[in-house]
Amino acid sequence: MAKLGRGILKFLIVALLVIDLYPIIWLILSSFKREAEFIKPMYMLPEGLHWQNYSVAISQAHLGTLFKNTMIVTCTSIVFVWLLSATAAFAVTKMKWKWSRLALNYITMGMFIPAFVLLLPQFLLLQKTHLLNSLAGLIVIFISTSIPMSFYLLTGFYKYLPDEILEAAVMDGCDIYRCFVRIAIPLSLNGAVTVVMLAFVNIWNDLLISQTFVSSNTNKMLQVGLASFIDDRGNRDWGPTFATICAAIVPTLALYLILNRKIIDGLSAGAVKG
C-alpha cells in the first residue's frame, strides 16, 4: 500500500517536471525546424538541425543591437541595485537610528506599486531630465523600481547576521565601512546572488517599461524587439521566430543554471527569514 502510494507520488513528480520542462525543450527543438515541418503535428521532432533559422533571426531581428543594449542596461542596473539596496538594508537592520523602522516600511511599500501606475509620471520626469529615449533613462528607472524588492530580501539576510560577529570586528578596530565590506557583504553572498538574479530576470524580461520609455531603434531593448518581431513575422516564419525566442532566453537560462544553487538557497533564506 505504502509502496503503491510512493509509486504514484514518484509518477506525479515526474509528470510535473515533464510539464515544466517539455514546453522549453519543444521550443528549442522547434527553432531547428524547417518552415515545411510546421505543418506536421507539433510534437514531431525536427528532421535536422536547420541553423539558418538562427542566421535569419540574427540579421532580421537585429539581435546584435538588441543584445548589446539589453546587456548594458541590465548589467549596469543590477550593480547599482545591489549596491544601493545592500547599503540601505545594512543601515536599516544593523545600525541604530530613530527612523530606521519608518525607512524600512517606506521603501518596502514600493514592492506593492504596480509598474503601470507610475508610467506617465515617470515619463514626464524622464522627459524633463532629458533622459527619455536613452539607455541611461531606462537604467535609472530600473534601478529605482528594483530597489524595494532587493532591499526587502537583503534586510532578511542582515537580520540574521549575528551581532556578535560585528561586535568582534568593532573590537578589532574596524569602522562601520569595514564592517560592511569585510563582514556584511561576504556573509550575505547568497543574498547578493539572489538579488542580482531576480533583478536580472526582471529587467531582462521587462516589456512595459522599455517599450514606453525608449522609442528609437538604436536604443531598443530585447523584449520589445522580440515582441515586434513576433508581431511582424510570428505567423509566417515560425522557425526564425522560435530561434529569436531561444536566443532571448539563453542568457537568463545560462545565468540561472550557473548560479542556481545559490539562488534557490538565497531566495528561500531571504524570504523565509524575512
Binding site: 514518484k10 506593492f112 515582441a227
Partner: protein, 294 residues
C-alpha cells in the same frame, strides 16, 4: 560598539542614494498618480479639476465591475494556485524525491526565468488551432478526442482559464522554491518523534509540518496577492484582453482607459484603487499572522 552603529555620517551615506533614487522615481510619481485622480483629460493639454467625480464614476461603471470580477477570478485561481500547488509540489519534492531533489528543484524553477513575451508566444503556438493544430490540439487529435479541439485562447469559455494556467505554469516554481526552503528548516527530530508515536506521514505533515510553515506561507500569500492583482503581461500578450472583454483584467482596463480613451484621470483612479486593494489585502494577511503569533 554603540558609537560605531550610531555613526550618523555613515547612516546618511548608506541610506541617501537608495532613498533619493526611490523617492524621486517611485514615490513622487506615485503621489503624482494619486493627484491625477482628481482630474480629467490629458496632463499638460486639457487637464481639468473634477474633485471626487472619478471615484464616484467607479460605482456605476459596468466595465470596471466586470474587470474587477475578472481580476478577482485571476487572483483566486492563479494566486491561490501558486500558493497551494507551490506547497504541494514542495512537499512532493521533499518527501518523494530525495535522490534528485536538487535537479528537480532546478527544473521546477526553470519556467520562472522565461520572459513573459516568450512564454506567451510559446503557448499561443502550443494552444493554436488555426492554421495548424498546436501541441495540445494535435495531441487531442492523435488521441482521438476530436470533440475537445478548439481555439483555446480565442474562445470566451476557455480564454481566461488558459491565461490563468499559463501564468500558473510560469509562477509555481517561484513559490515551490520558497516553500521548499521552509521545509528544509523544519527540524527532522520533531517529525521522527511523531512517527515513533505512530503517526502516518500525512498526519505528520498536517499536524507538525504545516503549522511550522506558517511564516513562509504568509510570505507566499503576500507575494501571490501582489503578483496576481497587478498582472499585466500575460493577458496582454496571450489574448490582448479578448475575446470580448473576457480577459480584460483591471490593469489592462486601466491602461486602455488612460492611454487610448484619453481619460487619464479616470485611468489613474483605477490604478489607485488597485494599489489600495493590494495594500489592504496584504496588510490584512500580515496583521492576521502577527495576531495569531501572540
Amino acid at each position: 560598539m554603540e558609537r560605531v552603529l550610531r555613526d550618523k555620517k555613515a547612516i546618511l551615506l548608506f541610506m541617501l542614494p537608495a532613498m533619493l533614487v526611490y523617492t524621486i522615481f517611485v514615490f513622487f510619481p506615485m503621489c503624482q498618480s494619486v493627484y491625477f485622480t482628481f482630474f480629467e483629460g490629458t496632463p499638460n493639454v486639457d487637464f481639468e479639476f473634477v474633485g471626487l467625480e472619478n471615484y464616484a464614476k467607479l460605482f456605476h461603471d459596468v466595465d470596471f465591475k466586470e474587470s474587477f470580477l475578472i481580476t478577482m477570478q485571476y487572483f483566486l485561481v492563479t494566486g491561490g494556485g501558486w500558493v497551494i500547488l507551490g506547497l504541494v509540489v514542495a512537499l512532493m519534492l521533499q518527501y518523494g524525491m530525495k535522490r534528485f531533489s536538487n535537479l528537480s528543484r532546478t527544473i521546477a524553477y526553470l519556467p520562472v526565468v522565461i520572459p513573459g513575451v516568450a512564454a506567451a508566444a510559446l503557448f499561443s503556438k502550443v494552444l493554436e488551432v488555426t492554421p495548424t493544430y498546436g501541441l495540445v490540439n494535435s495531441l487531442l487529435d492523435a488521441l482521438g478526442l476530436e470533440q475537445f479541439i478548439r481555439g483555446w485562447t480565442g474562445d470566451s469559455a476557455t480564454a481566461m482559464w488558459m491565461v490563468c494556467l499559463v501564468d500558473l505554469w510560469k509562477g509555481i516554481g517561484y513559490y515551490t522554491v520558497i516553500f521548499y526552503a521552509g521545509l528544509v528548516n523544519v527540524p527532522t527530530e520533531l517529525e521522527e518523534a511523531a512517527r515513533i508515536d505512530g503517526a502516518g506521514r500525512l498526519t505528520v505533515i498536517w499536524k507538525i509540518v504545516l503549522p511550522l510553515l506558517k511564516p513562509v506561507t504568509v510570505m507566499c500569500v503576500v507575494l501571490a496577492i501582489m503578483n496576481s492583482l497587478k498582472v499585466y503581461d500575460m493577458p496582454v500578450v496571450l489574448t490582448d484582453g479578448g475575446p470580448g472583454r473576457t480577459t480584460t483584467v483591471l490593469s489592462i482596463y486601466m491602461y486602455k482607459t488612460a492611454f487610448t480613451k484619453w481619460q487619464y484621470g479616470y485611468g489613474s483612479t483605477i490604478a489607485v484603487v488597485l494599489l489600495l486593494l493590494i495594500l489592504v489585502l496584504t496588510q490584512a494577511v500580515m496583521r492576521f499572522e502577527r495576531k495569531s503569533e501572540k
